[in-house]
């Protein structure tokens, strides 16, 4: 009687299951456990085997993985929010208001906002851990620099998203930030040296052509700014950050995996 197979075992041996998960059944032998990582497009971000300290939370703090996981949470919650949000001055605020007032138990906006804060903190702590373990040292120098770019992109993603609710908190925070762009050396209308970029009496850098204008799409925060930040937040920056993340993850493996004492 014991050779009678239960439903799970029969599914695991069927053609469909085996075609999806090569190797079939729960990975029990050492070989199967190695193959399960090698055969999965998602799991094979990992090596097959790791030094034992690499699975300890007290060493890794799990902050790199968590940063990536929060990025996924933010992508999913962000896509859902995009269904209900229109990036125009007329609708932006009321759409957010609707999300707050009209959706029973609606927490998608909260997940997205607090997730964004959490990602900033997770990325910072990941960098902290990498520094404390000296993991930026050869051969991982370049990947550290890629990580710095990812940090900057994370902050920019959070910054562009900050404007979208179009409330007082949003526009004045962005006003403080974008005014800085107007002071960019040479390229900002109020920046040092901008008056040098001129031919005769014609200034190239004016309030209608400087770095701030390029950032907010106008002389004042308005419709163009909202659309610009929306596109950067939903498409532009995620696109760029994904490229750098791919390089970052690839280089972890190529630089010899997690850092270890020599």
């Amino acid at each position: 009687m014991s050779d009678k197979k239960n439903i799970f075992e029969r599914i695991a041996e069927g053609q469909i299951w085996k075609s999806i998960f090569r190797g079939g059944g729960a990975p029990k032998s050492r070989r199967q456990r190695m193959m399960v990582v090698l055969n999965s497009v998602f799991l094979h971000l990992h090596p097959v085997r790791l030094p034992k300290h690499a699975v300890k939370l007290k060493f890794t703090w799990c902050m790199g993985g968590l940063s990536f996981f929060i990025f996924l949470i933010l992508t999913i919650s962000g896509i859902l929010l995009m269904f209900y949000y229109r990036p125009t001055i007329e609708y932006a605020y009321t759409d957010i208001m609707d999300l707050t007032e009209q959706v029973p138990f609606g927490i998608m906006r909260e997940i997205h906002r607090w997730g964004a804060h959490a990602m900033v903190i997770a990325v910072w702590l990941h960098m902290f851990r990498v520094f404390m373990t000296g993991s930026y040292k050869p051969p991982r120098e370049f990947n550290w620099s890629v990580g710095v770019i990812l940090l900057v992109l994370t902050l920019l993603l959070s910054f562009t998203g900050y404007l979208l609710p179009w409330d007082q908190l949003a526009i004045w925070a962005i006003a403080v930030g974008s005014n800085m762009a107007g002071a960019t050396p040479f390229l900002g209308a109020e920046g040092p040296g901008s008056s040098l970029l001129a031919i005769g009496d014609i200034n190239f850098i004016t309030k209608a052509s400087d770095a701030r204008f390029g950032l907010i799409g106008g002389r004042f925060l308005g419709e163009a700014t909202l659309l610009r930040f929306y596109v950067l937040h939903c498409i532009g920056l995620p696109f760029i950050i994904m490229i750098f993340m791919a390089v970052h993850f690839w280089r972890i493996r190529k630089d010899g995996g997690i850092s270890t004492p020599v």
């Binding site: 799991l43 990992h46 906002r113 620099s145 930030g177 107007g182 004492p261 020599v262």
Partner: protein, 372 residues
């Protein structure tokens, strides 16, 4: 209670708070052997024991609980967007402790000639990703998701009045992670605090592995062998970044004036604006003459100081105090390192010049929007 509150209000004034942090820092995170010896002698290394952690967290939590009884404190700390910063403070204490407790343990092992905690013998000490890593990842993922859900249900995201470009709030603050930079706006003009300084921070961070070329200490926590680089990094990260964020968030009220944590944010309080430029101090106050009309002559003192700082100091240090550095790093690395360090040191220097001499600008050329 009120006496305690006003004491806290008094000592959290940036002048006192920052000075205390500045003086205490090298003894807590010693950069050199001398500081390290004092650090050990004073028993500050006990901070990185379990007892130390309990005491540090208990004091912080007790302070927050005590503070929440105060209306002014509560109003600022419980502002939805400020909540993550309170979390960050606790996380910073915990993770600083976590890394340094392991570092000190490894330091001891190294002293005894034993292999560090993370040492493993390939390939015997390797574990399989499935299941050893995958289940750790799965559990972290589930726990974090649960945490996110609780956080999101418990704390509604802020939504203030609809945007109104004609009515600016006082104070208008950038998102919290940029408040350290906004705090720097008190001491520097936007072109520097908002554009050049962040650029230097990014370049400086990216340059770390190309400047700190010592291959030792990779892949495990340690302190003693990497004292200087760790101390510099921790100073930048904990003090110049995070302490300034905390000051900018919790202690800066209307008109970006300083307010203690238990102080009411009075928007009618006036700040005396009596800051003067270096050129005014020299020509008007000391030499008793008017400002020269020639810009270069007028700003000559400031330009001279900047020239001395950036062109004379690095080669001077290369021949004296930092001679061994210069020999080890070579001229390119050394120059980049020292110039970045000078820019870093200029931040606190300018802060103190403002506090003690009301100095506004070392170089002031409003004609070219160039003030430093």
């Amino acid at each position: 209670m009120d006496a305690f509150k006003s004491l806290i209000n008094y000592v959290s004034n940036p002048t006192i708070l920052f000075t205390a942090v500045l003086v205490g820092f090298p003894f807590v995170f010693p950069p050199t052997n001398w500081f390290y010896k004092v650090h050990k002698k004073l028993g500050i290394d006990k901070l990185w024991t379990k007892k130390g952690l309990i005491i540090m967290v208990a004091i912080t939590v007790a302070f927050f609980i005590f503070g929440l009884g105060d209306d002014n404190f509560k109003k600022i700390v419980l502002k939805p967007d400020n909540v993550p910063i309170s979390g960050l403070i606790i996380l910073l204490i915990f993770f600083t402790w976590l890394s340094l407790s392991q570092a000190y343990k490894n330091d001891k092992l190294i002293d005894e000639g034993k292999p560090v905690d993370e040492y493993y013998e390939a390939p015997n000490d390797k574990v399989l990703v499935w299941p050893d890593l995958v289940y750790v990842e799965l559990i972290s993922l589930i726990l974090f998701s649960a945490f996110m859900l609780i956080w999101s249900i418990g704390l509604p995201a802020p939504l203030e009045e609809p945007a109104n470009p004609s009515e600016s709030p006082n104070p208008a603050k950038a998102p919290w992670y940029f408040l350290g930079l906004q705090e720097m706006l008190v001491y520097f003009d936007p072109w520097y605090a908002g554009v050049v300084l962040p650029t230097f921070i990014i370049i400086g961070l990216m340059a770390i592995p190309y400047i700190d070329t010592d291959p030792n200490g990779s892949g495990y926590y340690s302190y003693k062998n990497r004292m200087l680089s760790l101390s510099i990094y921790l100073f930048g990260w904990l003090v110049l970044w995070n302490v300034l964020i905390v000051i900018g968030t919790f202690l800066r009220g209307p008109n970006w004036g300083f307010f203690g944590p238990f102080e009411y944010w009075d928007s009618h309080r006036l700040e005396a604006l009596t800051n003067v430029n270096l050129s005014e101090i020299i020509y008007i106050k000391w030499l008793n003459m008017g400002l020269p009309s020639n810009i270069l002559l007028r700003e000559a003192p400031g330009l001279l100081i900047m020239f001395l700082t950036f062109a004379v100091t690095p080669p001077l240090l290369a021949r004296t105090a930092l001679k061994s550095f210069y020999e080890r790093l070579g001229s390119t690395r050394y120059t980049i390192f020292v110039v970045l360090m000078i820019f870093g040191v200029l931040l606190p220097v300018k802060m103190y010049l403002r506090w003690f001499f009301n100095l506004k600008y070392i170089i002031s050329m409003p004609e070219f929007f160039f003030n430093f």
